[in-house]
Amino acid sequence: MSLDHAAKPAASDKATRAGFTFSQHMNELSLFFAIVVLYVIFSATAPGFMSFNNQVNILRDAATIGIAAWAVTLIIIAGEIDVSVGPMVAFTSVILAFLLQMGMPTPVAFVLAIALGALLGAIPGVLRAYFDVPSFVGTLGMWSALRGTALFVTDALPVSIGRNDMLDALDRSIFGIPPAAIVMLVLFGVFAFISRKTAFGRSVFAIGGNAHAAFLSGISVARIRVALFAVGGAMAAISGILLVSRLGSGNATAANGLEFDVIAAVVVGGTALSGGRGSMLGTLLGVLVITLIGNGLVLLGINPFFQQVVRGLIIVIAVLANIQAIKRSLARNKG
């Protein structure tokens, strides 16, 4: 098997792509199936799982991962990676809280926080696009620097924002649905549209599939790379805003390890780390899988340390299953 693989990249690559549409849907179908199975298992075993309240909780938790995951999906499709999501969320939450403490009008503070997120996100983008620093290195640097700065300026203490009607409203459910979930779903629509119907989105696929060809046909590869990371920073900032609304304060220690969940969701959703392939719908399903598992295990009262083990296994198994499904569908196509 490995032999087959190592031997003919050209051929199997081509074949993979030929079976692309089908296997892509294979992947989404199997994720959908996994979600159904999780629902059946948890509603049978985990008390309170199916309650309306808990479903709302799931949506709210999904928003934390999802909003950042939409942007990271595009980043990974373009063949890059972003490991700085968690610290970026925490950092912008702290900055937002400071801005509000300084008495800035809330909408202005929101805009500033998002702009700052985009600006900071753009740094590893610029390093990648114009200085050839791999995005893993650039975002790893940001990961350390942002978390450090946030802790440094706050002394790890929460930055309280006091009473703030607008932020309180963001945490109050509308017809039972938390605004965070609505924001997530709206942004999902926007990203799904961008990735399929706009020049920007298609350019991202082109860059991930063949950056050289994309450059030769006049796509501004460098500018799009910078834009992608800026969008990633902006999405993290939006998560940061929602975090502040949920916690009532800016927290330098929050969103710890969020990048792990985000990348896991994207990868479980079938986006290839090698770039050029992936879908927003897959990521949405991936986010749901990760969130459902987290929620169900807590409800079942599973030892929290053991939950980490389960999450590690799930990621590997999901990716393994996805790859096997693609291979099998190819074999079937071929026969």
Binding site: A46, G48, P158, S160, G248, N251, T253
Partner: protein, 302 residues
């Protein structure tokens, strides 16, 4: 005593606001010491191996005493022993080594006893339930039990509570020490166990997280919170008194100051008898207590 310059190393255990209080306490203490006193500080990030390497660095830096909140009672003794062997007095605060090692290698231990910590809160919770005439309250715990003190806190809490309200039961125990995680986990617990009467938050993040989750699920008045660690927001919640009903707290600043005093004494060859120096554990049980705390800690550092 001769007033020569001093250099003291300080190690904070991890990135929690409590240690910001300790830090401020140590720094004000240094300012008030009446002589030049350098503090070399670092953060072990909850990792014994980092802590060990930091202690070695501090020994090399030529500090005359080390103030440390060991990450682990059994896991941190080697590095502390090296400092002791190098003739540098070690002062524990908040946490320390196990009894035997402590007696041997540690010159002072500034402590608000974690068992006592839990016990006082358990007591306050019991009083509340008795007043509510609830003789079988169901309690959910949001823990920080990846550090050992938190286990001791829970044991103290359970002991005091069961002594007065034997029908009380712990129905869930999940990790939730950091605020965002605590909110999410508490929310999940509330939906799975609608009959929960109260949360016990073992640390500041857990206490506040439980309170936020209750408010955002509209369960104010049905579920209450007892928890540890004062911060501005917890004090505000307590002052509001709708969700948080009692908070126990060891003042970080006070503890830091105490630890520094003990360090200076140890350097001067006057370690305390019996090593342990108790620091008062404060219980805040009323809205007035909350307001008073807010006034006393206007800068928000606990």
């Amino acid at each position: 005593a001769a007033q020569e310059d001093l250099k003291v190393g300080a190690i904070y255990m991890d990135a929690q606001g409590f240690y910001a209080g300790v830090r401020k306490g140590i720094q004000t203490g240094a300012g008030e010491a009446g002589r030049k006193l350098d503090i070399v500080e670092t953060n072990a990030q909850g990792d014994v191996s980092k802590e060990s390497s930091f202690i070695d660095s501090l020994i090399s830096a030529g500090v005359q005493a080390i103030i440390v909140s060991p990450v682990s009672a059994d896991g941190s003794y080697r590095a502390i022993r090296r400092a002791h062997d190098a003739g540098i007095p070690v002062v524990c605060y908040n946490t320390c080594l196990n009894e035997a090692d402590m007696k041997e290698y540690v010159s002072a231990y500034a402590v608000g006893d974690p068992f006592e910590f839990g016990h006082k809160l358990g007591d306050a919770a019991a009083d509340y339930f008795i007043a509510q005439k609830n003789d079988a309250p169901k309690i959910a715990v949001l823990n920080c039990e990846f550090v050992e003190v938190c286990v001791t806190r829970r044991k103290g809490f359970e002991k005091a509570l069961m002594a007065k309200v034997p029908g009380a039961r712990i129905v869930a125990n999940q990790e939730g020490a950091v605020l965002d995680k605590a909110v999410s986990v508490a929310g999940t617990m509330l939906s799975s166990n609608p009959e929960i009467d109260a949360f016990f938050g073992e640390a500041g993040g857990a206490t506040l997280g439980a309170a936020r989750a209750i408010k955002s699920q509209g369960k104010t008045g049905q579920v209450v919170v007892f928890g540890g660690d004062m911060t501005t927001e917890i004090a505000q919640e307590l002052a509001d008194f709708s969700v948080i009903k009692a908070v126990v707290d060891i003042s970080g600043q006070g503890l830091g100051k105490l630890a520094l005093t003990q360090a200076i004494k140890s350097i001067e060859g006057q370690p305390p008898e019996g090593i342990k120096v108790a620091y008062d554990i404060d219980v805040y049980k009323s809205p007035e207590d909350g307001k008073a705390w807010l006034e006393a800690h206007a800068d928000g550092i606990p």
